[in-house]
Symmetry: C2
Subunit: 206 residues, 2 copies
DNA sequence: TTCCGCATTGACCAATGTGGTCAATATGGA
DNA sequence: TCCATATTGACCACATTGGTCAATGCGGAA
């Protein structure tokens, strides 16, 4: 059954979700302040507790909501037929940009949520962690190792590629935090990414 | 003049410094709890305020202390004559390991301290930031770009190398957090690092 | 043994902030 | 006009905060 929150106009919904995720991501469950959340979301204290029965319910809602989003968007629409790791990772970064645009803190929130001791509900957590790890492994399991130069360990080659793309991704996020948010500049970043992918292809592949 | 704190036996001193840096790194200046710090350090509340007049004085002490350590150890003993970036970065990682062994949270603390809005004392902060940025640039300024393959942009080549080493470094730190701390295993990690450096040399250099 | 001076403790305090409630009000459609 | 729902924010009991200080522990000198 749909809760009162689920039928909100999506703009207000996202304002609340983003404010809450940001607060939890910064301070963890225990030290996150509902006062801060309502202030950032631009709603009254009473309204928040009209939507969610208490702090923990809000947290769990966020957790399920964001894992769902990630699983659908991120793992759901990857083309597992694409066995060239360079192209597959490029695809992932594009999806990540789309998500970061809509929920700027969703990845931060999930990262700390999976490590937060205070907010247990262990079953839910371990279940989702298992799914995540599983999908993550699948992402890099079936890639075509024959593309690599013969004198290079393919596992290490993969790592270098992953770290490079993480580096670009983090660099974008850092820039983005200091700037006034307009839109994450996909085009410019993708051009940069492609330049790096060219180098990696030229050097690591046959 | 030496404060009461400076003449403590170094074991106790480090216990207090590490406890305080950890707390500030986790929660930022405003939300860090002196109660937590004394609990983690295994001393009484009164003793902490016997050494430091208040929370801010403790914070500033930590800030100066750790920037000093970094500037001395990290930037002070790098061989700027070594223009092969691969070798120079290897050197830096070794020094980083040594520091992380003694002060497991020193880098975390400094990273958040430089961004923390609440604990200003802006002059001190901007001064040290300037020094850091300056040194950081010097670290990568004089490297020998002629070592790179002609068909590779040297700036991008550098970045790939830096990101790879950051990747290894982060991976070690993540492992280390989950393990019972004995010693950060320099040997094993250095062996792994060298394997990666081999690949990078083979692929990016002439 | 006595005594002194410093190291160390933790109960205590006013102040601030917490998650959560609820009676009062705004709002918009019938 | 009226009602049901959306929304507010003052309010509460309670926890935690940074910081104090009278009381105690303790090692060495006499």
């Amino acid at each position: 059954m749909l809760s009162k929150f689920d039928v909100l106009e999506s703009e207000k919904q996202e304002r609340i979700l983003n404010a809450a995720m940001k607060e939890f991501a910064e301070k963890g469950f225990q030290h996150a302040s509902t006062n801060q959340i309502v202030a950032n979301a631009g709603i009254s204290k009473g309204l928040l507790f009209h939507y969610f029965s208490n702090k923990k319910a809000l947290y769990l809602y966020l957790y399920e909501y964001s894992t769902d989003k990630i699983l659908e968007d991120f793992f759901g629409q990857i083309d597992f037929g694409q066995n060239d790791i360079l192209l597959r990772l490029r695809e992932m970064l594009v999806i990540k940009f789309r998500l970061m645009n809509k929920y700027p803190v969703i990845f931060d929130f999930l990262m700390i949520a999976n490590r937060d001791e205070a907010a247990d509900e262990q079953d839910l957590k371990t279940r989702n962690q298992a799914i995540m790890v599983d999908s993550y492994e699948k992402l890099f399991a079936s890639i075509d190792e024959s593309l690599f130069r013969k004198d290079i360990d393919p596992g290490m080659g993969k790592q270098i590629i992953i770290w490079t793309i993480e580096g670009i991704s983090n660099q974008v996020r850092a820039q983005d935090k200091h700037k006034k948010r307009e839109e994450i500049q996909e085009e410019a970043t993708l051009a940069e990414l492609d330049a790096y992918l060219d180098i990696l292809r030229k050097t690591l592949y046959i």
